[in-house]
Subunit: 288 residues, 2 copies
């Protein structure tokens, strides 16, 4: 597809799966002139250069952000505020800044508080990761057909807000504008708490090996798949969305305690009701 | 494939996904002369007849079991003991009896206690179901490549034990012999508790619809898939494996409480450790 160039110079801070895939998409669709990549470790930067996700490699955020038209922060969530603080003093008056973290309220509030209005950071959350990570799994089509949440207009520079929505649409995502607190409350239910629960379920299996292997079926495999995600990413998600996670985790614990009590009482009708509620809720959630 | 006939007359009690699929496999591989199906509802029996899973339809267990060489009980788990009691007085001295329930200790103990040795019930658990159900989803290949647990030899008539292992191998399963209590302890961890947890997670989503839809990603879909299973089946599993389910459900609740406390304290190192333990345990469980 032939598209107009959106940005002369793009700086991607963090060249993992999301950052490197974005670089690949920008290059392959000719949406950017030069793509700069920032990393803390040389091997990741070399890999990103090798696959063509970035044109230039940097170890310093400030150096890489200077003169860039678009800066995309692709670090774990808890690092975003400090990276923003490093970017703000060096980025130009027309620069646009966004991120890809799975939590939005804390990060967007930090940007708003630390930046004079109209401010140029517009938070994003592309729902396009997986339990895989690192530039070696990057692909230009990662965002194609995915949903990307973009922070609702709220004192931003209007052209920055438009540019961020353009960016995600041009790499194939469907943009959904959302208020950060509402976003965090919803993803706590659909992603963050399910992840914590999948991790706890995995921990039930103390020993793998030949003895346990026949008991591992598709149910266990699917239910726990996300538990293979990177611990640092999920630690940061918890640290930046604690209230919604606590609320929903407490509700899950309450429901499980209720189910455990029904098992103890051998209460058939109550157990059937429990499973029926779960089935009906899932069918509704998937609009079936 | 051309195979020798294993049984002249087979009676399948319960013509749902597992029962009808077994009937189809027995017919298509010419492993059985006549397959009788027993159901409580006429439409299921008609469907099973229509797809060729059974040759004859019955509403009465005793009538269908009389004169059969193999009787396979494919009802929900909690109904197995009473079906066994209905089968025992009418089945011939050379008849072989098995089941397909996901719990084994309670059912195998009932058979052993109610039957003079050498007894002819050999418990089975083919790990081949899914959240789909009913004869309309039956397929002859359902068991192909799956694991089927068969109760360890324990006072059975030897030829009955051999016949049940033959049955599952001939329809394509890999037989794993197991002691019933050990079986139930393991599947509580890998299947029963994950199912209860998936149901609780689904219940977090009160409302589906357009507003919630963009937040449903592949993580939620996989983590909760099994929650669409039949409530009656899972109620019965809980009623027939209460101790192992309670123990492991309590452990999951303890782990989730620990995680929730770490979120409250914003304890990054503890959260990272939690997710790392989950990831490592899953990698080990899958022998990667």
């Amino acid at each position: 597809m032939n598209m107009a160039k959106l940005f002369d110079t793009v700086t991607i801070i963090g060249v993992g799966l999301l950052g490197a895939s974005l670089g690949l998409a920008l290059k392959q669709k000719a949406l950017a002139g030069t793509v700069r990549g920032v990393g803390r470790r040389r091997p990741s930067l070399d890999k990103a250069l090798e696959i063509g996700a970035i044109d230039e490699a940097y170890l310093e955020v400030a150096e890489a952000a200077t003169g860039a038209d678009l800066i995309v922060i692709c670090t774990p969530a808890a690092a975003v505020p400090q990276v923003l603080d490093a970017v703000r003093p060096v980025c130009g008056k027309s620069a646009v800044v966004t991120d890809v973290a799975s939590t939005k309220a804390v990060l967007c509030a930090h940007a708003k508080q630390s930046w004079a209005e109209p401010y140029r950071f517009v938070g994003s959350h592309p729902m396009a990761g997986s339990e895989k990570f690192g530039p070696e799994h990057a692909k230009a089509e990662l965002y194609s057909g995915s949903v990307c949440f973009v922070e609702q207009f709220n004192g931003h520079a209007e052209e920055a807000h438009t540019a961020v929505m353009d960016l995600w649409e041009k790499v194939g995502a469907r943009v959904v504008q959302v208020e950060p607190e509402m976003h965090d409350a919803m993803v706590a239910k659909t992603s963050h708490v399910p992840h914590i629960v999948a991790s706890a379920l995995s921990q039930l299996i103390e020993n793998g090996g030949a003895e346990g292997a026949p008991f591992i079926g598709s149910g266990f495999i699917d239910t726990t798949r996300v538990a293979e995600g990177r611990p640092e990413i999920w630690r940061d998600i918890c640290l930046t969305n604690p209230e919604a996670i606590e609320t929903n985790l407490s509700e899950v614990i309450r429901l499980l305690r209720e189910a455990a009590d029904a098992v103890t009482r051998l209460d058939g009708p109550q157990l059937e009701k429990f499973f029926r509620k779960g089935r009906d809720a899932r069918l509704r959630a998937l609009e079936r």
